[in-house]
């Protein structure tokens, strides 16, 4: 790349934006973007398998302790979960739109959609923070540390209140915190990636000839949305 940059400088003409980003080991921009695309899809495939271990833990525990899952889901507020679903779907729309903007060279709209995606990702984590802190303040932690307070037990529906607190309630919440927590870490990583995209978009790196980073990050972001699509009914709507 440096060789190209210097040759461009010596002739006094700036290289067109896409060529600046062609790595030396690729023959053309097209070969580079096709390779990146396959790479990101392989990564997403490994992410699916990565999460499958936790979904298996969920499946095994639910198959053997269905009553516990029915009881424990009363501690989760489906309205918060539904709100976060709406937030993530909207952010996915914004992410998909940002790819379109980059492909069409609409720089202002690209910046706008990137900022919107970042803000919505932040909103998701703020909602999640309120959910987590409400639970932790009321003794709903993971494993053996799970001792629900009188205050939160009083908010359960009457049928659930009549039951004794199951001794393995903490195991349900271990699975809950692990799955939503790992998903939350993915959201955090996504936010970092969107900050990076914003910096590059601000420099004017992206356009019709070069939009692979915008596309790849959006693909990752859609996968994060997809995982939440499964987590929401499995935890909040048992």
């Amino acid at each position: 790349m440096s060789e190209r940059a210097t040759s461009g400088a010596s002739t006094g003409e700036a290289l067109p934006a896409p060529a600046r980003f062609l790595a030396h080991h690729f023959s053309s921009m097209e070969a580079q973007s096709e390779t990146s695309k396959l790479g990101i899809w392989l990564f997403l495939g490994s992410e699916v398998l990565f999460f499958s271990g936790l979904f298996t833990a969920y499946g095994v525990y639910r198959a053997n302790h269905y009553a516990l899952f029915r009881y424990a889901h009363h501690f989760l507020d489906w309205k918060m979960g539904a709100l976060n679903t709406v937030v993530l779907v909207t952010s996915s729309l914004s992410a998909a739109w940002s790819v379109r903007c980059a492909q069409l060279g609409q720089r202002r709209a690209l910046n706008l959609t990137l900022v919107l995606t970042l803000l919505l990702a932040g909103t998701f984590l703020v909602v999640k923070y309120f959910e987590y802190s409400h639970k932790l303040h009321n003794g709903i932690a993971w494993g053996a540390a799970c001792h629900p307070s009188e205050h939160i037990l009083a908010t359960l529906p009457p049928a659930a209140r009549a039951q004794p607190v199951p001794s393995d309630l903490g195991t349900f919440f271990s699975i809950y915190y692990l799955m939503t927590g790992l998903h939350g870490i993915h959201v955090l990583v996504g936010m970092g990636l969107y900050v990076w995209l914003l910096r590059r978009a601000g420099r004017g790196d992206f356009g019709p000839g070069y939009y692979v980073p915008v596309d790849s990050v959006a693909l990752y972001w859609h996968l994060v949305d997809m995982i939440w699509i499964f987590l929401f009914p499995l935890f909040y709507l048992i």
Partner: protein, 120 residues
């Protein structure tokens, strides 16, 4: 739709498919509608079927995200092969382990009861 065909026909953009706004907004609207359906269906007691309905809706939503937001519908087939094979192996993993644990659960419970009966 005009912009779409213009984008697809742009010179030097082989393999590029610009998603038209109508498809993007339509996908998001379908996802939000299906979220409402899944919330509503969870309030109706269908017994064992509740989780099946919830998962069927979730799979439909995931397919919409993959096909349109992730533009898999317009990609090289190989990308689809990568995602589908990962999903197939994830489903096999979950299904086999769950079948296995439910298969042995009755005999484990019976053995536990026997041990409890022996130790008064």
């Amino acid at each position: 739709m005009n912009e779409n065909s213009a984008g697809a026909a742009a010179p030097g953009s082989h393999g590029t498919h610009v998603m038209p706004p109508s498809v993007l907004i339509g996908t998001a609207a379908a996802l939000l509608a299906l979220t409402a359906v899944t919330v509503t269906s969870s309030r109706i007691d269908l017994g064992e079927w509740n989780v099946i309905v919830a998962l069927a809706i979730a799979c439909t939503k995931a397919a919409l995200v993959a096909l349109f937001f992730m533009h898999l519908k317009y990609e090289n087939r190989f990308q689809l092969v990568v995602l589908v094979s990962a999903v197939v192996f994830a489903v096999l993993f979950v299904a086999f382990v769950v079948f296995d644990t439910t298969q042995y659960q009755p005999s484990i419970r019976a053995a536990e009861r026997q041990v409890q009966a022996k130790s008064p």
